[in-house]
């Protein structure tokens, strides 16, 4: 069944196989979230997460499918998977460096915090509710 995966900044409806706490994606599906399986490990662009040799079976299956949930667990990201509604997503971690984000204004124009490097920034949250 198609599963909506919300992973980092990507949202995609993919064919995935959910088993308990695992979520297996064929290479083509994984790629739609920006990830590929390389000799170095699971990669997103130039960034690769090496797969621990002894635990390879947790991450990659013989048919080439990769376990996205194992990847998020390995990286210390929280994972929830709503089996009934077919959703999974990770939660990012924090550090002392101000985490970057990209969001639209009222006109849909995108702004990133990182564009403002070189300035002091006061970041404020508010809400209509």
């Amino acid at each position: 069944m198609p599963t909506t995966v919300i992973f980092e900044d990507a949202v995609a409806s993919v064919a995935a196989e959910a088993q308990n706490e695992d979520l297996w994606l064929a290479p083509s599906e994984l790629e739609r979230l920006g990830w590929t399986l390389e000799p170095e490990g699971l990669c997103r662009g130039p960034l690769c997460v090496p797969i621990p040799l002894a635990r390879r079976a947790e991450f990659v299956r013989a048919d080439g499918a990769a376990n996205l949930a194992a990847l998020t667990r390995h990286r210390g990201q929280g994972v929830v998977h709503d089996a009934e509604h077919g959703e999974l997503r990770d939660a990012a971690r924090r550090s002392l460096a101000a985490p970057d984000f990209t969001l639209p204004d009222l006109d849909g124009r995108l702004h990133s915090l990182s564009e403002l490097r070189g300035r002091k920034v006061l970041l404020n949250s508010w809400a209509s509710w």
Partner: protein, 221 residues
């Protein structure tokens, strides 16, 4: 609403390499926030965060929350309530003194804006700029329950966008269970359930249940 205050501060301090970013934590998106933003006519980045991504990244549980970020992208103050205070809490009482509330609001606002000005003028030398150790002490740090709560919350906003309101409320309930101190989770979920509910009897009952505990984190400014 404080948007005009932030816009005025931006206009005042922009020539000194300072900017404000205001972010609306609103799963309802532009329709929910348009009137406030249009009224404030911001020339600073005034953004809309339908999935509360910024709250998740900065570990904020309430609005308003503010962070100060220096020129190199380092957090200098991670989670101030700004000039929001506890003064609103008796608002439903029949003898509530609105004048006193507005006075207290003005006092706290002026104090906070002066602190920002001091930081913009003096950088790390400002008495309001925290050291890395102090910043760390004010940030809870990664916590599996909080990460899962944020994940469930974001799942809820995604389901809401797809028009699956009941499923969305189930995800919000999980988020609230895992992180009961998040007013943002509660109030956003109420608002999506029924506009107005975020400031209705349920909200005031929960505020009352706080007793002596603060609604906003109490840091020394």
């Amino acid at each position: 609403m404080d948007l005009p205050v932030w816009q005025a501060l931006y206009e005042e301090l922009a020539p000194r390499s300072f900017t404000v970013i205001t972010v609306a934590m609103d799963a309802g998106g532009a329709p929910d926030v348009r009137q406030w933003i249009e009224a404030a006519k911001p020339t600073h980045p005034s953004l809309i965060d339908t999935r509360h991504v910024v709250a998740e990244l900065y570990d904020w549980v309430n609005v308003p929350s503010n962070a100060w970020i220096d020129e190199e992208g380092r957090i200098v103050r991670p989670n101030d309530p700004g000039f929001a205070g506890e003064y609103f809490r008796g608002m439903m009482d029949p003898d509530f003194d609105f004048k006193a509330m507005m006075k207290e609001y003005g006092r706290m606002r002026d104090r906070y804006l002066d602190a920002v000005r001091d930081w913009v003028a003096n950088g790390p030398g400002s008495r309001w700029a925290l050291t890395p150790e102090q910043v760390r002490a004010r940030m809870a740090g990664p916590n599996p329950d909080h990460a899962r709560a944020a994940a469930y919350f974001r799942l809820g906003t995604c389901l809401h966008e797809q028009g699956r309101s009941e499923a969305a409320q189930e995800a919000f309930a999980e988020a609230k269970r895992l992180r009961p101190e998040s007013w943002s989770f509660k109030r956003q979920a109420w608002h999506l359930e029924e506009p107005g509910k975020s400031g209705g009897p349920e909200f005031w009952a929960e505020v009352k249940a706080l007793g002596d505990r603060p609604y906003y984190p109490r840091w020394e400014l």
